[in-house]
Symmetry: C2
Subunit: 428 residues, 2 copies
């Protein structure tokens, strides 16, 4: 919907990294197109960067460059503050200042909002300001909008997400090109997808941050980030990837959110049956599979990272917030009640267990006895032939509680039956 | 965003079929939840049905029942008119009356808006009223919202859609369960998905209606419905489905929209490589694969039909329009310029051709000569053995123009070389 008269929105942008540059580029190059389509004239007034003198690939003629965030957050002319600096401490300070000075804020900072979001939400509510986070999850997929608006008449009962493009690229390279974990990680870094320090990606924390942000919207509860169990992909070996493929499974790092009977929020590698809708999401793609009481299952897929998709999401937030602002209303008043999250130890699931066992008779019987004594029944067993003293032994269990399985694995590891850490992957 | 004060929206609903019942049910059973989440209190004031005395599975206590549409469209209390009666003539009259009486309108009537949308859009613009069509395409997938808002900073260059659940179910049953077309259609009808008269589904018209609605939003042009080429699935045989599977293809009824170099809008069966994202969309699911200049490729998948998904989409429109209404602004003023659509005869593609030829030597040579003389080169040939006088001969061509291929096929059919109509399927 366009208005006859243009409405000017002055924008301050903090951070000019990959996504920040993308946002600046869209605002400068598509200003007219956006004005025509929406009736809002977004003017990039000020950009805050660490090094204002640095040469940049983007021409910022007519834009004020500063290294002082308060030149943006306290500028009475500025309507929207777009925070794309990353990190949590400084970003928290900038956003607090922006909200306190009656700016609407748009951010792609998932770590900040997952871990310290509550104080910012409370402040935004008090100041009657809006927060846009579409850029924080799923790259250009309009998933936050779908949760908030498109599925507004639904009670969302569960969602499952592939939310980290780097991890998905690594697992895809391992399964499709037979790479080892280390080779696949190097490939992801070389192609510019993985960070130089990919720890937050591969250890599952980034996915958990995104899960926290989505779960808040889906379940209308405050999510205590510390209660989200997460586990990454760095222990996954090419043996696991290949062997699960042979059994008809695909290995994915999944964010899992279920509302009932008690809220489950967890991030870990999962064996998915190869005909599962998320099993065919490859490379840097992200995907979210949502189940709503009215809509049934809906799947969203798109590039999960990169300058352009994320910048596209940030700009769509800016447009939405400009519209909402003209409504003259602020954010929802409700402070959500805290979610009670089921401890992962109580989760029941099937398990894939891989042990390194000595290649001699009777080993399986011994392992099976420990599992049986802990109430875990075996669905199938696979021993992989290898000309070595220690060989991989893979056990698929029936449904069992996480606690019992971990307990049994601990007992087995303490014995002299196996070498190395056992690998434990949940089967969905 | 919720307001402190509830804003009352009085709703009139015309039509209480499958989707209408779903909308009424959501409005009555989720009124409080929607109020809490959005700040809008939707009150179902009046329902218009053909037979007001008929017993219904839904209790409509407190709702006025009428068989006179103007009791809704002229009621000064009513804010939103939800048209779910279907058909084009009466529905057009109802919506015209509603808009003329300053109501916002929500409809899932794709035939009406694809074929006669322009007059309604013009009227809505003149009356400063809004039109919501989310329910018309893709069941519960918030695809119209994604086009209008989520991807607002993108130039959409193409999209591909599986937009008819019945056709997709039939093709899935044929490919996965080895059913014939007639068996699969019966199954779809028995399970309540296909209409008793499934003509508009299987002849591609329904998909073309949806394509017209989406293309208008994606390309910001008025789409002349008569220029959309469409072809259905009723000529597809199990031979084609099975044989394409053997060659690594999946057969789908696809809506294709491309902006460049000249706009292409068409609906027809297509052979997709089995690793194509749309090849794995099965059963009653719908899917849209969008390419935007910022976002790259985004895929949306969900149940394409049925009471609940579509009703969910209609209600999300009602909420959005209530919000926009509070903005105090009407629809976009622009009357779109008419799109120039490339004639299908000029489209270039690869082709799958199936002929019924007499099983004697030299037949292939004769067909190949006709194709060659028309500038069509053959990529591969497959003759299927059968204990019959006439056997299927399948030819895959290299890129060729539709006009030349159709011409060659016509010549071949006129000759005495083949029996029955040839089958021609485009390969994407």
């Amino acid at each position: 919907m366009a208005q006859k008269k243009a409405h000017i929105i002055n924008v301050g942008l903090i951070g000019l990294g990959t996504v920040g540059t993308g946002v600046a580029r869209i605002l400068l190059s598509k200003r007219r197109a956006i004005l025509q389509r929406t009736g809002f004239d977004f003017r990039l007034k000020t950009v805050c960067v660490l090094h204002p003198k640095k040469k940049r690939r983007l021409s910022l003629k007519g834009v004020r460059i500063t290294s002082t965030p308060t030149h943006i957050t306290r500028d009475p002319d500025i309507d929207q503050v777009v925070e794309l600096m990353g990190g949590t401490t400084h970003a928290h300070r900038c956003l607090t200042s922006a909200l306190s000075n009656s700016k609407d804020v748009i951010s792609a900072n998932k770590a900040l909002f997952a871990e310290k979001g509550l104080s910012l939400y409370r402040l935004s509510s008090r100041m009657h300001r809006l927060i846009g986070l579409e850029g924080s999850v799923g790259g250009g997929i309009p998933i936050i909008k779908a949760f908030k608006e498109g599925l507004a008449s639904n009670r969302i009962s569960s969602f499952y997400g592939i939310l980290n493009g780097t991890c998905n690229l690594i697992l895809t390279e391992m399964s499709q090109k037979g790479k080892t974990y280390v080779e696949a990680l190097k490939k992801a870094q070389a192609s510019g997808f993985a960070e130089k320090n990919p720890r937050l990606d591969v250890n599952g924390a980034d996915t958990a941050h995104k899960l926290a942000i989505l779960a808040r919207l889906a379940f209308h509860r405050e999510i205590p980030f510390g209660r989200i169990f997460y586990e990454g992909i760095s222990k996954i070996s090419d043996i696991d990837v290949n062997f699960s493929a042979q059994m008809g499974y695909t290995l994915k790092l999944l964010a899992i959110a279920r509302l009932e009977p008690q809220m489950e929020l967890r991030v870990h590698p999962v064996l998915l049956r190869s005909d599962h809708p998320l099993a065919s999401i490859h490379g840097v793609n992200n995907a979210v599979l949502v189940r709503g009481d009215e809509v049934g299952e809906v799947l969203f897929v798109g590039e999960g990272a990169g300058e352009r998709p994320t910048a596209s999401a940030v700009v769509s937030d800016m447009i939405d917030i400009a519209k909402a602002r003209r409504l003259g209303i602020g954010p929802r008043e409700t402070i959500f009640s805290k979610a009670k999250v089921k401890p992962v130890s109580e989760v029941r699931s099937r398990y894939y267990l891989r042990f390194q066992v000595e290649d001699r008779p009777g080993m399986l019987g011994k392992l099976a006895r420990v599992l049986g004594a802990n109430g875990i029944s075996i669905s199938s067993v696979h021993q992989i032939e290898a000309p070595a003293r220690f060989v991989p032994l893979i056990i698929l269990t029936h449904q069992a509680s996480e606690e019992k399985v971990k307990n049994a694995v601990r007992l087995i590891q303490r014995s002299s039956l196996v070498k190395q850490q056992a690998v434990l992957i949940r089967v969905e």
